[in-house]
């Protein structure tokens, strides 16, 4: 077979049985893969699948619980990052964190310096070499500028330049194209292909196959820390398990038509032409959406699409352009605490529990603004909804499992008696069995209460069954809107 010829080449990185546990959470589970010289390997998986952890384990930023990482046959598991870096591994971070007081030139030179306490002069060779690297990645025109004055794509170039400066044999790249325009992405692709021509081994970590398909030789797909597929980009995209993870299997949907909601004319929440910028990068571009009283709306999009930004803007945590109307009145300049008391509760992606407080204390904090009687009623109702929380009342929130923490976060938000509950990626990193429990709880909310839910998800399997309507958020824009029954047919293919 043709593939055997490539397999015969000596792998430069050999990962065997790699496992990483954070407390009770298994982030990476018995992962095997190898990376050969002059190869680009894609490591893909949805949020919480363990791909970033795997990247950190190879680099030595995190240390594996068990398993082995070999670099040219030498075991590196447990070594600190700077030792692994000196063995020829470089990492390009997704977020650039340059030295702000130094110029671009000096930032690149940093990558060329030896790890010495007594080297005071920066030699002419280092200056020249840094200049050459800047030319290579297209930074020569901004060499003497400070990083804070650079556009976003140039900051990514600077990260790349620092990695090139290390002259690594292995380059790990986290979300290579995040935040770049098509044209910029094409330039970066060419640079990565250049690494391959130079015989370097490249590992690209990204959310979906599509974004790296044109570039990679092989793809490994992860889900919940485990490898679910491996092969060429086409093979992985056609894989049944991958399709189920990304698109959901046959999904039962039970949408209520939009015309059935009483506030058809004046929706409960009305977002109009919302735009948000993070200094250089545009996080939301003229996003419009609305949610009716009692409606369940899902916003579907991969990591970085802008979901969290959208929710934070609604909650008044970010400056924005455009309008957000709550029951017809604009929310701009209303302080976040007032927005919460007006009936908007958000369960953030990170859950933001008070880890050192007990389950009960977390819930009581949510009920602070209610009278004692109402708070007790709600508590009883929530213990009904999430029975596990009742038995865990005295336990510290930090000691709960991931699923229990998510339930507690939702329960705490519900304690504020909100009219709108915003759930940001509630399924992040949760096992299928827990998803089922969450599903049941959401269904119960939909059947028995007046509450409105705005759900942000990249897990379509979870997002669709609970939705009356679905929006697709892609690269800061709403690209599709419709009923969940039409999603797989009309929007599914663009989502793999």
């Amino acid at each position: 077979m043709a593939t055997q010829v490539t397999d015969a080449r000596q792998a430069v990185v050999e990962v065997r049985g790699l496992t990483k546990k954070f407390g009770g959470l298994v982030a990476v589970n018995r992962l095997d893969f190898s990376l050969r010289p002059a190869e680009i390997l894609g490591l893909i998986g949805p949020n919480g699948s363990g791909k970033s952890t795997a990247l950190k384990l190879v680099m030595g930023i995190e240390h594996p619980t068990t398993g082995s990482v070999r670099l040219d046959g030498i075991e590196t598991a447990g070594l600190p990052a700077h030792r692994i870096a000196r063995m020829g591994v470089a990492l390009v971070f997704q977020h650039s964190r340059p030295l702000e007081r130094q110029t671009v030139h000096e930032n690149i030179m940093l990558g060329l310096l030896p790890d010495s306490l007594f080297k005071l002069r920066i030699s002419r060779e280092i200056r020249e070499r840094a200049r050459d690297i800047a030319t290579q990645v297209g930074l020569s025109a901004v060499l003497e500028r400070r990083p804070s004055t650079l556009p976003f794509a140039d900051l990514r170039r600077l990260e790349l330049a620092k990695a090139i400066a290390r002259d690594p044999r292995v380059i790990l790249i986290d979300e290579p194209f995040a935040g770049l325009t098509m044209a910029e992405a094409a330039v970066f692709s060419e640079l990565f292909a250049g690494f391959r021509r130079d015989g370097k081994a490249v590992l690209l970590v990204d959310h979906n196959v599509k974004s790296v398909a044109a570039l990679v030789d092989r793809v490994i797909a992860l889900c919940l820390g485990e490898k679910i597929a491996e092969g060429t980009a086409t093979e992985v995209m056609a894989d049944e398990t991958v399709r189920r993870v990304y698109l959901g299997g046959s999904i039962e949907t039970a949408a209520r038509p939009e015309s059935s909601f009483a506030d058809r004319e004046k929706p409960l929440l009305d977002v109009q032409d919302l735009s948000v910028f993070y200094s250089k990068a545009q996080a939301l571009e003229k996003v419009s959406l609305h949610v009716h009283q009692r409606e369940f709306v899902s916003v579907v999009g991969i990591n970085g699409a802008g979901k969290t930004t959208l929710f934070n803007a609604i909650c008044g945590l970010l400056p924005y352009q455009g309008n957000i109307l709550w029951q017809g009145a604009p929310l701009a300049r209303v302080p976040p605490a007032r927005i919460v008391r007006n009936g908007v509760a958000q369960c953030t992606e990170t859950r933001d529990l008070f880890g050192e407080m007990s389950v009960r204390e977390n819930l009581d904090l949510g009920g602070q603004h209610q009278s004692k009687a109402i708070a007790n009623d709600r508590l009883a109702w929530l213990f009904d909804l999430f029975p596990i929380l009742k038995s865990r009342q005295r336990q510290n929130a930090a000691t709960l499992s991931g699923g229990e923490q998510q339930m507690l976060a939702i329960a705490r938000a519900l304690m504020t008696n909100p009219r709108l509950l915003i759930l940001d990626e509630p399924t992040l990193g949760l096992a299928p069995i827990v998803l089922e429990q969450l599903s049941k709880a959401l269904e119960s909310l939909r059947q028995t209460t007046e509450i409105t839910v705005l759900l942000g998800e990249q897990n379509v399997t979870f997002a669709l069954p609970h939705a009356d309507r679905v929006y697709v958020l892609d690269h800061a824009r709403i690209t599709w809107e419709g009923g969940p029954d039409r999603f797989a047919r009309e929007a599914g293919s663009g989502y793999l």
């Binding site: 700077h82 870096a85 130094q102 306490l117 005071l120 620092k162």
Partner: protein, 307 residues
């Protein structure tokens, strides 16, 4: 050949100021010379502190732990064993460096605010040790040091000035060097610095050792100028706070600013002495205003004007 850094206008300004400072004993009262002598040693304390805070990004709440180790070791050796001043000063410096290492080695492995808290506790420990072993250290009354470097106010002044200029030059060059660049990277983002192949703990530890070296040396020299060592002037937390305020007032990450801040603080306190208790209040208020309006301190104001 003159290096490029010595031809910049900033270097010329500093050179002229130092030249004027060197000529001061010709026309200034002994009292003011005495104040400036102390201020110059404080300048070295603050500059050493800025290397840690400004570059290694570690808040050392215990600069006086290092100063006190140097000062008391030198003082005790002179008082009890009558060793020559140069030996006392050298051993005092060694004590500060060793003490700094013993403190920093475990503390740098802690993350977040715990490094700072550890250094704070170290000061309290040293302060208590001095009081407990009063027989050796003079306790709360203080330690008398029989020898002095010189009885001439001018000579003492020139020694302090030369010492400050030399220390400042070493610290400044170090902070601008290749190693200083790595130290800044380690301070700002230790994960990224590690990925670039730098041993972050090693670089921070080195910065701590350098800081301890100059703090201890300055402390030891100051003892032989003052002729006494006491907890209130060398170790107490409030002294440490003064050192920190001076560095922030002068401008973080500038080294030179720290010395300017220290001289300013001592000069202001003296100028307002006639107002009695109000002096401390006014100086504190000015400090607060500068820090709030110009977080980058005096040096920040200078570069802001130029823009």
């Amino acid at each position: 050949m003159i290096p490029a850094t010595m031809r910049t206008p900033r270097f010329l300004v500093v050179a002229v100021i130092i030249a004027i400072a060197a000529l001061l004993p010709l026309g200034v009262s002994g009292y003011i010379l005495g104040l400036l002598t102390v201020a110059y040693y404080f300048g070295v304390f603050s500059m050493s502190w800025d290397l840690l805070f400004g570059f290694a990004n570690e808040v050392n709440f215990g600069p006086t732990f290092l100063v006190g180790l140097g000062a008391y070791t030198a003082g005790i050796l002179d008082n009890r064993y009558g060793l020559p001043i140069s030996v006392c000063v050298a051993l005092g410096t060694v004590a500060a460096v060793v003490g700094g290492l013993v403190l920093a080695l475990p503390a740098l492995r802690l993350s977040g605010p715990y490094f700072g808290l550890t250094t704070l506790v170290a000061v309290l420990l040293l302060q208590n040790l001095v009081v407990v072993f009063a027989g050796l250290t003079g306790g709360e009354i203080g330690l008398t040091v029989p020898d002095v470097i010189s009885i001439s106010g001018s000579v003492n002044y020139w020694i302090a000035l030369a010492f400050m200029v030399a220390s400042g030059s070493v610290l400044y060059v170090l902070s601008r060097s290749a190693a200083g660049l790595i130290l800044q990277a380690s301070g700002q983002d230790k994960i990224q610095a590690g990925v670039l192949g730098f041993n972050v703990v090693k670089h921070k530890l080195f910065a701590f050792v350098v800081s301890a070296l100059f703090s201890g040396l300055a402390g030891a020299l100051l003892v032989f100028y003052l002729g006494t060592a006491s907890v209130g002037t060398l170790i107490d937390i409030t002294v440490g706070v003064q050192i920190i305020i001076a560095a922030i007032l002068g401008g973080r990450r500038t080294i030179i600013g720290a010395a300017i801040g220290a001289i300013f603080l001592i000069a202001m306190t003296e100028a307002l002495r006639s107002t009695g208790e109000l002096a401390t209040f006014v100086v504190s208020a000015i400090t607060l205003l500068v820090v709030m309006l110009f977080p980058n301190g005096f040096m920040g104001i200078l570069s802001w004007r130029r823009r």
